[in-house]
Structures are given as C-alpha cells and as structure tokens.
Symmetry: C2
Subunit: 521 residues, 2 copies
C-alpha cells in the first residue's frame, strides 16, 4: 500500500519563513498515517521536496479533503502549479541534527559538522525549535575560534557572493560595521557617502533593528528604499560607489538571516555568532577591507576593555583566514551617539551632519570622521594619518551631502518621509548637577516602547549628554510617539527610571579611539 496522492493548493497565508502545509482533517492521508498538527512533514512533487509544518484544517473553504494546501512561502519554494499531484510523509530529522545533539551535549564541532548544519538551516530544514537549540547551545558552550571560522565559512558558502573584480580588479572594496548596542550610532550613513565621494567602492548592507529601536536599514528607509535585490545593489554601487541597503533582500547570508530570526526574540548575541554573522555578510558582499567599530561601556554590548580585546582578536583571527583586511577600533560606548534614537530622529541627525548644520550632533560627526578616515587609509595612495583630514574636507565641502543625495536618488528617494511622532513628552532632571550616566539599554527600551522602529517617528531625542550641566526641572530628553498606548508605555517606563543619572562632577574620559587623531572629543 502506497501513500495516496494529493493535489497542491495555494493557501493565501503568509507565514513568513516558516513553510506550513494545510491538510483537511478528513484527508485520507491524515487519517491513515496518523499525522498530528505541528508534525514536521516532507512534501514531494515533481521531483522536488520541501520541509513543512502541518496544520490540520476543518474548513473546506481553506482546503478540501484531497488538497494539500501550502502557505505562500511553501508554495513558492515547491515551485509547482496549483492542482499538481503531490505526496506528503513524516519528515526524517535533518541530516545534521546528530551534530546539533553533539553540540547540545557540549562537544566541539568539525568543519563538516558546521557546514552540514548551515546547509540544513539555509534550506529551511530546521524547525524554530532546532534553530533555538543551535543558538542557545553555541551561546553556552562557546564556539572556539576554529569553530567560528568554520561557521563563518559555511555561511558564506550557502549564500550569494558579489564579485567586483570586473569593476575594480584587485582594488579595495571597503566597508564599515559596528557590532551594535549603542542607540543612535548611525555613523555608517556618514561613512558611506564620505568614502564613496573619495572614490572608494563601498557596498554597505545593514540589518534592521533586532533588539534595538533602529537598525541602519530602518533609519535609511526613512530617506530611501532599502529593500534592493542584488542586481540593483550592484548597479547602484557602480553608479555612485556606495549604497546603504538592507541585507535581508540581498540574501547574502541566508543562514544568518534565519538564525537572526531566532536570536532576536532570545536577545542572544554571543561572540561566535556575532563574528560569523558580520564577517559572512561582508565577504558575501565582496568586501576586501573592513573597519569594525567595537563600542565599550557599562551598558554597551561589550562591558570591559579586556572583553573588547578578546572580541577584537576573534574578529582578526577569522578575518585573516578569510582574506579580509580588518581594522578593528575600540570606541567609547558609554552613552548613545547623536541626539535622536529611532529612525526619523536619527535620519534627521545624519542629514544635519551632512549639511554642516549648526545643530548637528558633535559626537556623531566626530566619530563618523574618525571611522571614515580609517576607511580612507585603506587607499594605498593615502598616507597613514591623513585619512581623517581627507574625510573632513569631503564633509565640509558638501561633497558628502551631494554623494548621499546621489545614493538616495539611486536607491529611490522616499517622497512621503515620515515626521517625528506627534505625541511628545519631556523627561526632566530631578536635581541640579552634571549628567554622569546615560544607560544605553534603558534608552533603547524606552524608544522601543514608544514604538520604534515600527513607528519610524517614535523614539527619544536627547537634549543633554554625558558631562553636560543640568538644572532641576530642565528637560533631559523628549519622548516621541505615534500611538496613545505606546506613548503611555514609554512614559511609564521613563518615570520608573529615566536612564539618566545626575551627579556632581563630570565623568572622566578614557583612552578610547576618538575622532581627533588621538585627542579627546
């Protein structure tokens, strides 16, 4: 006796990256083979097969008893027409699950193990549960540096890789990246136009917010289209030398895109996963030279200098073996960068710096120039130490602004640019003194509760920064929101703890890399 045949039916339900098969409860296959809801199944049709999760349906309008309904994602992946014959069976676990179990048990994985796991993840053979297990297990039993290298290489191998050799031969393809965790830190949107104006190739892709109030992709989206297929991305870079695209559309590291969907809700960001995620995307984008920003501070991702040094060395180890030239910079991560937190407010800050506006945030400008200078020094014709001066010339002359506008136009300028959220609340100082602490995590939380990044105009706008004197009752920052409920959440959170601490003397500056060639900002 063989399994009966079913007929494919497209069910108009978008389950995002999770493929769902819908079978009617009276379907003979459900009854004969004892399928249960949420079972993992393999759907076979026309020589193709995909993995899916089963939902059992009681409504004939969704699927009839002889239909095999497929969610939009599953239908797209199976690539057969509606009505095509198909069969379904209990899915065997993905081949690499044995390696996953070994990692859960604390063992070290080989290059082949990691390659098999990443291939299975990229081809959607892992359930959410198995993905979470991989993320937690590799977080707890920290991957050693060889495992991180193999994981990174495996992620590169399953993705698309852009080749710029026809365009620039062996010349540098540059990029700049931050490990994240500092609200408002939108230096990429300044570094890219500056270095592109210097003539360097800079195909920058960024993420959307994971646990933060805005990713670079969210902020850039206030100004321009960011969901660019690889073909458009390459055209834009050929035309303008730079781009600021969302990495998700480009599918440069599809396994990483899937892992992030699990890391986000768990707020897990282990060193190994961070290195693999960042470097796989850089290599896939064809970058040959990377400046990496590692902010350190009591409420940053990296809390201490020794931890930052360890992370730096892990990045350097993996990058060197991938043939990527890396300049990792440890920076001051004690507070948010710029004034705005949230897509619209951050985009405003970026444009003010580019416009040499008197209200442009000084710290954002200074840090962006320092990083752009480091990137420019990848240019073999630039003398060591000259980068920051060149960057400043490009910014002050207006050439960076012109280049940014060219990039925005090339990506597709947004005509209905959103405004800051209309609901505004000022959070005020409870005492006279000096700002001695601004908690990055707290500020991010408040901005997210206010609605960022889903409401692009929501967030926080900082009026005072570390070391600024304040008078009791004077506003420290403004909360912006679009919706009443969000506004209430954010206000209550700020009332419970504003994220600011007022003290008597300004906090001492430390020896982090700064924008003025070694001096303090």
């Amino acid at each position: 006796m063989d399994r009966p045949t079913l007929h494919v039916r497209r069910v108009g339900i978008d389950t995002w990256r999770e493929s769902v098969a819908y079978l009617h409860r009276d379907c003979p296959v459900v009854r004969a083979a004892g399928f249960q809801a949420l079972a993992k199944v393999t759907v076979n049709a026309d020589g193709q097969s995909i993995a899916a999760v089963l939902n059992v349906v009681d409504d004939d309008r969704i699927v009839a008893p002889c239909d095999l309904g497929l969610s939009e994602d599953a239908f797209a992946r199976l690539q057969v027409a509606e009505g095509h014959a198909a069969s379904i069976e209990h899915a065997e676990p993905a081949a690499s699950i044995a390696a996953l179990h070994r990692k859960i048990a604390g063992e070290r994985l080989t290059r082949d193990d990691l390659a098999a796991i990443v291939r299975d993840i990229a081809s959607a053979r892992y359930s959410k549960i198995e993905l979470a297990a991989f993320v937690v297990a590799t977080n707890q039993f920290e991957l050693d540096r060889d495992e991180v290298l193999h994981l990174t290489q495996a992620m590169i191998d399953v993705g698309h890789r852009i080749d710029w050799q026809h365009d620039i031969g062996s010349g540098p393809v540059v990029d700049k990246h931050c490990i994240g965790g500092i609200p408002g830190n939108r230096t990429s949107m300044l570094v890219v136009p500056i270095v592109a104006a210097h003539g360097m190739w800079c195909p920058k892709t960024s993420s959307r917010a994971i646990t933060s109030p805005a990713g670079t992709a969210d902020t850039m989206e206030v100004l321009a289209e960011v969901a660019l297929p690889v073909e458009r991305l390459t055209e834009i870079v050929r035309a303008t030398r730079g781009c600021l695209a969302w990495g998700g559309t480009a599918r440069l590291s599809p396994a990483d895109d899937i892992l992030i969907s699990v890391e986000r809700p768990l707020a897990i960001d282990s060193p190994g996963q961070m290195v693999a995620s960042i470097l796989s995307k850089k290599v896939a984008a064809g970058s040959t030279h990377l400046v990496l920003d590692i902010p350190v501070g009591p409420s940053a991702k990296v809390r201490t200098m020794p931890e930052a040094q360890r992370l730096k060395k892990l990045f350097e180890f993996v990058a060197a073996r991938l043939g990527l030239v890396l300049d990792a910079v440890i920076t001051d991560g004690r507070q948010p960068i710029g004034h705005g937190i949230g897509p619209v407010l951050e985009a405003r800050d970026v444009m003010r710096v580019l416009e040499n506006h008197p209200d442009a945030p000084h710290d954002l400008r200074t840090k962006a120039l320092m990083l752009a200078g480091r990137v420019i020094e990848f240019d073999p014709d630039v003398r060591g130490g000259d980068g920051i001066r060149i960057a400043r010339d490009i910014l002050e002359s207006g050439r960076a602004l012109a280049r940014m506008n060219a990039i925005i136009d090339a990506q597709g300028r947004r005509v209905d640019a959103p405004a800051p959220g209309p609901l505004v609340h000022e959070v005020c100082a409870g005492a006279d003194g000096v700002v001695v602490e601004i908690d990055n995590l707290r500020m991010a939380r408040i901005a997210r509760l206010a609605g960022a990044p889903q409401s692009p105009g929501a967030g926080a706008d900082l009026l005072r920064k570390l070391g600024d004197p304040v008078v009791r009752g004077e506003p420290l920052y403004r909360i912006h929101a679009q919706f009443d409920a969000d506004f209430g959440f954010a206000r209550r959170m700020a009332e419970a703890d504003s994220g600011y601490r007022i003290g008597e003397t300004a906090p001492a500056a430390r020896g982090w890399a700064q924008g003025n060639g070694g001096g303090s900002a």
Copy 2:
C-alpha cells in the same frame, strides 16, 4: 490615535497548542502598526487577553480586512463569540523572560524565578523558540537539586491535582513508572491490573511515545480508549481501582505537556527535566507511593551504575520534599524487554503474560512481577519480601487478566483492534554463535522507521534475546510495516546495522534488581 477595533472570526485551522492570529494584509492595523508575519501579538477582547503568533493572509475567504482570525486553539482560549470586538497589539515578552535570559547566561534560578517561568509556559506565553531555549539552557547548565525541586513544585502548582482522600483517606495511592529508553518495556500494563486486583488504588497515567516506537499510552490504545478527561479517569479508578490513561488529556501537568512538545524534537531528556516531569505528574495524579524503574545498560538512557545512583538520589531528594514515598529500582537495561516493539506487538506480549500463554515473554513477566511485588509491599499489611509471591498468585490465578479486562471495558474497549503490519521482513544472523548485544537505540530506530507508533501494527518482533544461541541465516527478528515507504526505510536501516551482535560466549549477568527476589532471571 488609538488602535482600531477588529472583529473576531474563527478560522478552522488546528495549530495544536500554538495560537495563531490571522490578519488580512490590507487590515488597517497591519499597515498602521507595521506588524510582520510571525510577530508575537496580544489579542484583547472582553477583558481577556491571549498571546498568539501572527500570520498575514491574502485570501478574503479566510479573513476579511476587518477580521481578526483565530486558529481553533486561540479561539477556544479567548472565549468570546464570533463577531466580538477585539484589538491586537505587539506582545511584550513574558514577565519571566528575564529569568530565562539569566539561565541562558548560566545563573542559578530561585523558586520564584522557576514559578514565574512555569506559569508563563502553562499559560502559553512562551514561543516555541523560548521553550527550546529553556529546555536547552536547563539541559546544559544542569539544574541543581533545589532548582529541580522548585521546578517540580511549580509544575504541580499550575496543574490540576486529583484528591483521593474522600475515597481512601490516608491510604496509599500507588503508581509505577519507568524513566524510559527500553523498547518493549510495557510492565505498567501488567503492574496496574495486578496491584488493582490486590485492592490498591493505582491511577496510572502515561505518555505517548516521545522518541521511542511506543509509549504505554500508545500500546494501551491498541486495546482501549486512553484519552480520558480527569472526571472519567477518577470514575474508572473508583470502579476498578486502576486505569491506564494518557496523561495528556488529563492535563495534570500542563507546563510539562508543553515542554515535552519541545523536548521531543530535540531528543533532550536531562535528569532535572526528567525528575520534574515524572514527579509532577505523579503528585498531580494524587499518588502517595511510587515504584520507579531505572534501567541501566550501554544503550539505555542511563549508561553506568554511578550515573543511575546519582539519578536515583535526585529522584529521592525531590520526592521526599514533596511527601511522595519512593522506591527506586535499578534494573537490567541491556536489551529490549519482551518480544514486540511497537504498539500492537507490545500489546500482544502484555496480553500473553496476562493469559499465562506459553509464548509469553519470560523477561517481561519476571520484571513485571518484581515491580508489582514492590508496589504491593507499600500495603502496610504485607510483610517485606511477600509482595512478589502475592503478585504471582494474582497473575497465575487469572485475576490480573480479569482486572485488565475490567479496566479495558471501563476505559472503552477498542472493537477494531489493529493487527501487526502486513509487510514482513526477517533479519537473519550473519554468523553462528550467541547473541551478545542488542542495541536498544538501533532497535527503536528501526521500529520507528517501520512506522511505529503512528502505524500501530508496525515495529519489530524479536525472536532471539541476549545469550540465545543462533545459527547463521536463522531469523533474529521480524520487521512489520503498513506502508511500502516505511518498510523500505526500516529494511535499509536494518541492513546497514541490524542492532544485534553475535559473539562466542553469552554476556555475564550483573547484580541488577531481578524478578526472583535477588536471584538472576
């Protein structure tokens, strides 16, 4: 501006325990609040609120733009009528997620942390991803014994607890449980009728197969209905003193039922989770005395005697603090018990033992009598050492069979009892000699590939056991299957490695607890 109101619509899709909300892509809420597929949302209606996962729908036949569609599970949990006004918002993480993050980071959790986590799990506020993270994190950073106690207590507190005091005052309510891992080990189906015939109260609930070819509930289901609500379960026990029900329907430990749905695909069964799972269900079922079977063997769950002793002490520590009298027995787990592996074949073995049939498996009978004897000795009127003799009398006199039939009739006898799978393949010895090894894991894998437990007649039927002499070409076991594809999978797996090893001399018996009061079986 406040969120617009939607109208509840029941969508006939069974997503099992995962609550799904279906919103049309053109729904104003989706557009205004930037909801994405798979986002976690909170649905509010009539003062109630439930957590759900969002699926975005493009088909008006499923939901219209102003509908809030709910899967069967979500609809049942929200408890409002179709058409009722409802709103939806981004879900904040469950309150206990901070404690989960601390566990992921390796910290020890307090009683309150674990209580909060278990409450959130039981009320379906954890996503699959968060559940998997909890399971992996508590597997890796092993829970200490106080954490296991608090986890067990928390699981008891969120479930229903059966109270037998009206029925038997302070008299013992007994149970027998095995930690699992040994195919064919269906002693519960013998112990329950024997001790019930002795007059003891034995409200036995069991699980379905997790990673095995059959759980006791799967095997009992061949003979009788096992999905019994708590009310029927208690009635049956009042009438017959015993029952053999599936624990899932009784919802005695709802948090554990949910955790198992994640542990199963990950094949994780850590000591702490095992103790909490087993003991929470026993206490919830109202048991006061428990005999626990801990099989040890090279392919059992517990591989070594020291490991078995550690596990035994963990069970004893937690049981004592819950007021449960525990007799933990370490048994011989070197091979499957009985002949059959898979629901129908195992049920046949059980009935043969009860019928005192000449082909009844000796090892299953012996082990069941030993365990039943231990349970009977919980009776204050039975002298130490007399239990096994009483158990043997009950079995040999036919009283155990009569009681089993009474239990089967009370639960609902199955009239269309399934037969062994019609596709049969004999796996034969490759050499002359003696059976020196039978791999439990391999045999379980082969039986599962053959289709067990979904095809109840599928599995393996062992013709030779440890120490039996064999001649080359003689059958070792038979594979039974219902479907061609399963049959092929199981045969190929058996051809690659039969699970049997033939040697020259019989393996030595060791000092495990056996059925003959200390002698060897």
